[in-house]
């Protein structure tokens, strides 16, 4: 089984309690210690640009002997233990197809790849490091790429140009704006694409109820069955 280093960049997280909980929950569920990168650990050049580009520095932040990194965003909630992830150069989950289609309509590269990963969760092997280095250089150039949509299209471009992405099921990165059908069985739930305040209130609810327990323990004893009152035939007024 190929190992990996779980890593999260948490520069200026607004709610340290939630950060601590999410990390502990990941560790309990998956039996792996998470490397949490805080502001004081970040290289100066990484802090100079847009925060989302800071993942370009993951290989600089990881211990030198790291061969694989599992990166996850700090607005993700670990719900269930992750299954084994195959030993491939790069594994990730496809984002909302609508975004992929929009990029494909404009950029020939994305028309060719057809799929587009969400960069909030990925597993990268050491051989991807040169492409993260390239992302650092492009960040420093302060040029605008792909509608200036943060780092995600650019990382897609750099990775997909060289590697065949291993597409993981949506349960690995169930996105709040996209993946209704798998939300009930997600391993990682991603509060992506929503107002910042609501993200933390929703995460707090999960924290209050789940703590560090596995999800199935919460549901196990619930046998309650609801019988709907059918309004047909009632005398309405």
């Amino acid at each position: 089984m190929a190992s990996y280093l779980p890593m999260m960049i948490a520069v200026d997280h607004p709610y340290p309690d939630l950060l601590k909980w999410a990390v502990e929950r990941f560790e309990v569920l998956n039996g792996k210690q998470v490397l949490v990168v805080t502001r004081d650990m970040m290289p100066k050049e990484a802090l100079a640009g847009v925060t989302s580009y800071s993942k370009a520095w993951i290989w600089d932040l990881a211990p030198k002997n790291t061969t694989r990194i599992l990166f996850w965003d700090f607005d993700m909630i670990p719900l269930r233990p992750l299954p084994e992830i195959p030993d491939v150069a790069f594994a990730s989950v496809a984002d909302y197809q609508l975004w992929a289609d929009r990029l494909a309509a404009v950029y020939p590269f994305f028309a060719r790849t057809k799929k587009y990963f969400n960069s909030g969760f990925f597993v990268a092997r050491k051989d991807t490091q040169p492409y993260f280095d390239q992302l650092k250089l492009l960040t420093a150039s302060k040029k605008k790429f792909f509608w200036n949509m943060d780092e995600q299209p650019l990382l897609n471009f750099l990775i997909q140009e060289t590697f065949d992405v291993h597409w993981l099921p949506e349960t690995f990165n169930c996105m709040g704006h996209a993946h209704f059908s798998v939300a009930s069985e997600a391993y990682m739930f991603h509060l992506a694409g929503m107002d910042k305040l609501s993200r933390w209130a929703i995460m707090e609810l999960f924290k209050l109820r789940l703590g560090l327990e596995p999800v199935h323990d919460v549901q196990r004893d619930e046998k309650y069955e609801f019988v709907f009152e059918d309004s047909r035939g009632r005398d309405h007024g």
Partner: protein, 220 residues
């Protein structure tokens, strides 16, 4: 007028059935009251073409005739804790988020009087106010239901008409905690979490993840 009420949930607008069941079940488990589910087919003919967010004026047409008091809850509202006993007032609602109350007070003198504005996703109304609901139907049918300045469907009209008819009993924001203005701290006392003003699919995805994670369990 008693303190009894009928909880009413409109299951419309392609509301996923598993979420309907979960929300209604949570409400029932927490409050010991059966929720009256209203579906599209239950509305009278004059409501058929109405925007799904503007159907509240028809609430008295879709509850049993002997209902004296309704408690309306939006379908994107997650019951978290049991409702305390509700006071015996003609109309009860919860304060909206402070920034929104302030915004509305800046626009409407009637709201500025006390600075209070309710989010219409949660209210308790007595049948004696049915004429106000009928009046709101007029605003819907005359296509004047949306205030052009902030497009909140019927909410502003509802606030102003109710204010003109009765004294509103104001409940704290906990009764209808709006996610986009909530903080994590508020979740330790919130009675419900309202996922309004989010993209429709995002609310359903979040509710589906919470459905299997918190199930019917109670919050301390």
């Amino acid at each position: 007028m008693g303190t009894d009420y009928l909880p009413v949930l409109f299951s419309i607008d392609e509301y996923p059935p598993e979420l309907e069941q979960w929300v209604a079940s949570r409400f029932e488990v927490l409050n010991g009251r059966r929720v009256h589910i209203v579906r599209n087919k239950d509305f009278p003919a004059d409501a058929r073409d109405v925007h799904p967010y503007c159907l509240q004026p028809w609430i008295w047409d879709v509850v049993p005739k002997d209902t004296e008091r309704v408690l309306y809850v939006d379908s994107d509202m997650i019951p978290l804790r049991a409702l305390p006993e509700l006071p015996d007032d003609e109309f009860i609602a919860a304060l909206d988020g402070t920034p929104h109350c302030k915004r509305m007070a800046d626009i409407y003198p009637a709201v500025a009087a006390d600075g209070n504005f309710f989010n219409s996703g949660f209210f308790v109304a007595s049948r004696s106010l049915r004429h106000i609901f009928d009046q709101m139907k007029f605003f819907v049918s005359s296509r004047k239901s949306e205030d052009p300045r902030h497009g909140d469907h019927l909410q502003t009209i509802f606030n102003l008409l109710i204010r003109s008819a009765t004294s509103i009993k104001w409940l704290p924001h906990d009764y209808n905690s709006v996610a986009i203005t909530a903080t994590p701290k508020m979740m330790s006392t919130a009675i419900s979490l309202h996922l309004c003003a989010m993209p429709l699919n995002a609310r359903w995805v979040i509710m589906n993840a919470l459905r299997t994670s918190i199930g019917l369990s109670k919050f301390e």
